[in-house]
């Protein structure tokens, strides 16, 4: 790792027309390149990750919303499975992309409708100054976990090719305390084999035309480990995912207008086998997504951005009767207007036409105010209405799906302050942001037993959720002689409550949603000096209720992780070593009830780089 000079670059984007956006660049992500997206988001972002156990499902709760309200995009196309409407964050390797953009709440409407929490966009952009940059890294970690990452980025000032692969295998045979027997046992049946291959090509013509082609194949085969309950028999449960994603993009940049076209094809194959329930089902989804955006800047201070999106889903599943398809035609209009040097605004309008019917209109308005000329202080606010369509499983799951579901909808308002201060010398940079949101979600879809037949569970538009909270962040970069100090801190408070009950005995009204913490904190402190790096990360998760009436909960926990590294630079070569200690204090914890988590564990990464 060649440690770059401190780039004074805001991660808390202050100037986004009233919408909140945060960026994690490749330098921030560097220590996490052997990890998956769930680890990095839980340690450095405000998104809460609910991780069952190493090698198992990891889902998100973004701003107090359920898991299917965070959309994960890869360069603007959705990674979510159209059947489930959500992504498994444990299946996305960090080494497959360069940067993460987090679009909070209504900010995500520029990408999609329906993600009430927001959008996590995984981005790779070309560096036209690059000639050759080759990397190979090997990580060896506790519990027989091995990860190999290799990449070759090469090109000219008009053509760049990125080739990357990663291969990881994990046994996850960690010891834990079995509450059932009171003995220390070794986790079993938690194997994961995962590999992915990415090729991205960028071609620039006359600084006007940009052609991009991307392909990403990933393979993930894992055991689903059993819940801790003292069972003597284990019936294998396995999940196999094979995904191929491809994107073609074209961008034309003119003086007063530009055009951006994109088309993509995604095939997601999943097999789930559960020998206990005698299930062995294939699910095969094809999604084609195309979009066009035209930006016109013909009048001073005004940008008008009309666009059209088209999504086609084709699903063949052993759990559906017959092939199911869905098509969504989306009309999009974005108008950004700069009133003066202090006030900017942006209007986003969406209208979707789904399977031949117009869906409700999605409007959003953002306002940004910069009161002072010389001080980077920004006040942001936006108001929006958003709709989310039922997932294909909600609609079509054999016998239980409910084709009559309505979309969920959300009225949301948010506001925030962002401030940053770069010192003139460039040696000190501080940025901070505080924002609050208030969101009321209606017609939320919940799988619940039918009133006339409790043995049949059906998704129904029965719930209402009120989520409100505060997010605060503070980042620092400071150079003292040879020493470079960076620190990032995120604090969240969230009340997300059930606001509608359907049974006279239901005691959940006004109570916190299950498995959504009321507060979280994560902080990182990194020290760099003479190509040494010493980093400390602290992640705190407050109690999560496990019952809707909030009668039982999982207590709060804090995890500490440290990282120590050294790199040696020899002209065009660099060799770096990195040691990580996770769960430093060996906390015996569970994130989800009865799913074991590992105690203190270690990893060692050796990385070779060649750069010219």
């Amino acid at each position: 790792m060649q440690l770059k000079e401190t780039e004074v670059r805001a991660n808390l984007i202050p100037d986004n027309n009233g919408y909140k956006k945060v960026k994690f660049d490749s330098l921030i992500l560097l220590p996490y390149r052997d990890a998956d997206l769930s680890t990095v988001l839980s340690q450095i972002s405000t998104i809460f990750i609910k991780s069952y156990s190493p090698g198992s499902l990891a889902t998100s709760s973004f701003r107090g919303t359920p898991a299917n309200h965070t959309q994960v995009d890869w360069n603007g196309i959705s990674l979510s499975n159209p059947m489930l409407g959500q992504s498994d964050f444990s299946q996305i390797p960090v080494s497959a992309f360069d940067e993460i953009e987090v679009l909070y709440g209504a900010s995500g409407l520029t990408k999609t409708s329906g993600a009430f929490g927001g959008v996590v966009n995984l981005v790779t952009n070309p560096d036209w100054n690059n000639r050759i940059h080759a990397t190979i890294a090997q990580t060896v970690a506790s519990f027989d976990n091995y990860t190999t990452e290799a990449g070759a980025i090469a090109g000219t000032s008009s053509f760049q090719s990125h080739t990357r692969m990663n291969y990881s295998s994990a046994v996850n045979n960690f010891p834990y305390n079995d509450d059932f027997t009171g003995e220390k046992v070794i986790q079993s049946n938690a194997n994961v084999l995962q590999y992915s291959l990415t090729e991205e090509a960028f071609w620039k013509l006359k600084d006007k035309h940009l052609f991009t082609a991307r392909v990403w194949y990933s393979y993930d085969n894992r055991d689903v480990p059993p819940v801790v309950e003292g069972s003597t028999t284990y019936y294998p449960q396995k999940m196999l995912n094979k995904t191929l994603r491809s994107i073609l993009e074209y961008k034309l940049v003119e003086r007063s207008w530009n055009l951006s076209l994109k088309t993509s094809l995604v095939n997601q194959f999943m097999n789930y086998r559960n020998d206990s329930m005698l299930i062995n089902n294939d699910h095969n989804c094809y999604t084609s997504f195309s979009s066009a955006r035209f930006s016109w800047m013909g009048v001073k201070n005004l940008t008008i951005r009309p666009g059209v999106d088209f999504t086609y889903d084709y699903v063949k599943s052993d759990s559906y009767s017959g092939v199911k398809t869905r098509n969504i035609l989306g009309l999009y209009l974005e108008v950004a207007y700069k009133f003066n040097d202090h006030v900017k605004s942006q209007l986003i309008l969406r209208e979707d036409y789904l399977d031949g019917a117009f869906m409700p209109f999605v409007p959003s308005l953002g306002l940004e105010y910069k009161p002072l000329n010389k001080i980077n202080l920004y006040l942001n606010a936006n108001v929006a209405r958003n709709y989310r369509y039922p997932t294909l499983n909600d609609l079509f799951w054999e016998y239980w799906g409910n084709p009559d579901l309505k979309p969920e909808y959300d009225n949301v308002i948010e506001g925030g302050i962002t401030y940053n201060y770069p010192s003139l010398s460039g040696k000190f940079f501080i940025e901070t942001s505080v924002s609050g949101y208030y969101s009321w979600m209606h017609d939320m879809i919940v799988w619940s037993p039918l009133p006339y037949n409790p043995s049949v569970w059906q998704p129904q538009n029965v719930s209402e959720v009120n989520a409100r909270g505060i997010e605060a962040s503070l980042n620092l970069k400071w150079k003292v002689g040879k020493l470079q100090i960076t620190s990032s801190n995120n604090l969240t408070f969230c009340r997300s409550t059930y606001e509608k009950t359907n049974s006279p005995e239901d005691l959940s009204l006004g109570k916190q949603l299950i498995y959504i913490p009321e507060s979280t904190y994560n902080g990182t402190l990194n020290l760099n000096c003479w190509n040494f790096i010493l980093g400390y990360n602290l992640t705190f998760v407050n109690k999560r209720y496990t019952t809707p009436n909030n009668q039982a909960y999982m207590p709060a926990y804090s995890l500490s992780n440290i990282i120590f590294g050294k790199s040696f630079n020899l002209h065009t070569f660099a060799i770096s070593l990195q040691v990580k200690v996770n769960n430093l204090f060996d906390v015996d914890y569970q994130s989800v009830k009865n799913w074991p988590m590992p105690g203190r564990n270690y990893s060692l990464t050796v990385r070779f780089e060649f750069k010219k």
């Binding site: 305390n177 509450d179 059932f180 027997t181 009171g182 819940v227 309950e229 003292g230 069972s231 003597t232 028999t233 206990s276 329930m277 005698l278 299930i279 016998y399 619940s448 037993p449 009133p451 006339y452 037949n453 409790p454 043995s455 049949v456 503070l474 801190n489 604090l491 359907n502 049974s503 006279p504 005995e505 239901d506 005691l507 959940s508 299950i514 904190y521 902080g523 602290l538 705190f540 496990t546 019952t547 809707p548 009436n549 009668q551 039982a552 909960y553 999982m554 207590p555 709060a556 926990y557 804090s558 995890l559 500490s560 204090f585 906390v587 015996d588 914890y589 569970q590 009830k593 009865n594």
Partner: protein
Amino acid sequence: MMLTGLIMYFLSACSKEPIREVTTPPVNPPTDTSKVVYNNGVFIVNEGNYNWANASVTYIDNKSGLAYQDIFKTANSRGLGDVAQSMKISGDKGYIIVNNSDRIEVVSLKDFKTIKSVTGFSSPRYIEFVDTTKAYVTNMRRNISIVDLKTLAVVKTISTPYWTESLVRFGQFMYVTCIGSFNVPTADRKSQIYIIDTKTDVIVDSLLLGKEPVSITVDRKNKIWVICTGGYDNYEAPTLQRIDPALNIVDKTFTFPVQQGVPSRLCMNPTRDTLYFIYNGVYQMAAGANELPATALIPANGHLFYGLGIHPLTGQVFVSDAIDYVQSGKVFRCSQANGQVLGSYTAGRIPGSFCFTPSSKK
């Protein structure tokens, strides 16, 4: 700095105690079970959620009317397991069937401590005693287990091609309902009843029934009653069928209206002349009736009635409300005369079945 203070606070949250679920006790918590004698009350078996391993047993003491939560954990310092299906008592022992843990916890009724965790089942459902030495256990996966009650071990299995569910002893024979293959559409499932000679442990006869026969009982006139749901995919209308064991034929079939609900949990009153079942609400039906009852004894009124039991001495109706299948359920004790609620109790998650102590008195 304030930040340092915050970090110290967060670090202080990382205690050395294992971080596990904490349950805040309900109001008026009788947590001290040391003085409780399990000889006059009802055990409520709370299934818990599949794969959450949060099954539990609640005990309601008849005398004091108090509900004691999670008595298995209190007595044994560990959880009961994943999905507790049912419980039955023989002598001074309780047998709790923990379905997804493939186990039967045999507990002493003196203190509810485990005498033995019997293993060797394949998704066990219900137990029925042949005598004081032998019991049959149905399994979702293709056999009936025979448990020796002296050694508390599975000593034999009767192989069946399909999922066996509910069972009742009738003289020398055991009547066992069979749902069919686990993972096929209802149309392809062979629903039947096996008649097993308990002396030889051999299936001596079988009888075709309506789809998904889930619940079985015997009346005072020696007729066997079965509820068939019609299939999880509403393959056919649900039925209540009566079997004449003398001839081994279905001699009566009552058909429920299609799409209005699914009947379950067939029970008998102490004198065994009245049937009870859940069909949204709780219904009461004389064994000699010529048609299904038109109105419910206890209407559902928004409740999600899930488990049903009839007190073997008083005849009072115990019905559980699973609410949303996640929060703690409720149990209502109702009058068999008019359905009026006489008492209500908080139970655990998904209260599914009841087990009354042998000497239950009012």
